[in-house]
Symmetry: C2
Subunit: 171 residues, 2 copies
Amino acid sequence: MDHIADAASPQHEFRDAMSRLAAAVNIITTDGRAGRVGFTATAVCSVTDAPPTILVCMNLGSRRFAAFAENRVLCVNVLDPVQARLSDLFARKDVELDRCFAAAHWEALGTGSPALEGAAVCLDCKIVQISEVGTHGVLLCEVQGVRSKPRSGALLWHNRAYVPIQAARAC
Amino acid sequence: MDHIADAASPQHEFRDAMSRLAAAVNIITTDGRAGRVGFTATAVCSVTDAPPTILVCMNLGSRRFAAFAENRVLCVNVLDPVQARLSDLFARKDVELDRCFAAAHWEALGTGSPALEGAAVCLDCKIVQISEVGTHGVLLCEVQGVRSKPRSGALLWHNRAYVPIQAARAC
């Protein structure tokens, strides 16, 4: 039976609803004057292809946010199903970033942001605008370069659990 | 073998990369002075829960855009795997909207936007801001009400094909 929340819908009800919106799992990285930083995110979406633009949402209160704001570049690494453990590492605030990065292989594409070896797709971007919406920043990013791994699957997050989509299943 | 595109990455290369970013399939609807309109979208993401806010991207050139801009309300209907045919209908520009809406049952929640019976989640929203980015509008939406269907699955779009996630599989 359906449940209807009223206009005063509490935040936990919203978070429950959001957990039902399945989304790809990504590790967003940056490097530059403010150092090398990364975090796990599902709030990424395509905006327009003229010019190729995506957006990424992140918590303004996070210590990692400052590095993105200063470096003004990032790489969206769309994860393959075998990379769930790496997603867990980058989602934890109590793990040193050096330990997170040491758990995988990376290389810089054009912007210098770490691109993850074995990711389904890496989108190397310039951050062209940051808007503040409540607790979060919306980072508008122009894609400078793309690296894709053919025949990869996808790692989804749905109902607070990972759902692997194998390449064969996705075709 | 990886493929690296250069900074002059053509739009089709970006679109290919975007097709690898798996996303939930939604039908976005509105109703009000400018009439009842809907379209299929995957470019939806959560922004912040304080206040509960999501964003939706849509083509500014679409005739349907004007109705959203005038009505200033919308409902994000997150589809269940059995609703792929409805997604196809709302994605087509050559099908009359009346025929699209006639293919399912709808009811108005608080804002008056059509909420789809059987959807995994309906997010009833006020549009609080519209930003233009290239060819597209980014609609920032405050969630006024939530209706969820327990134990529903998810309908994903990945590699230009539907991928159904059953509820049992998603747990």
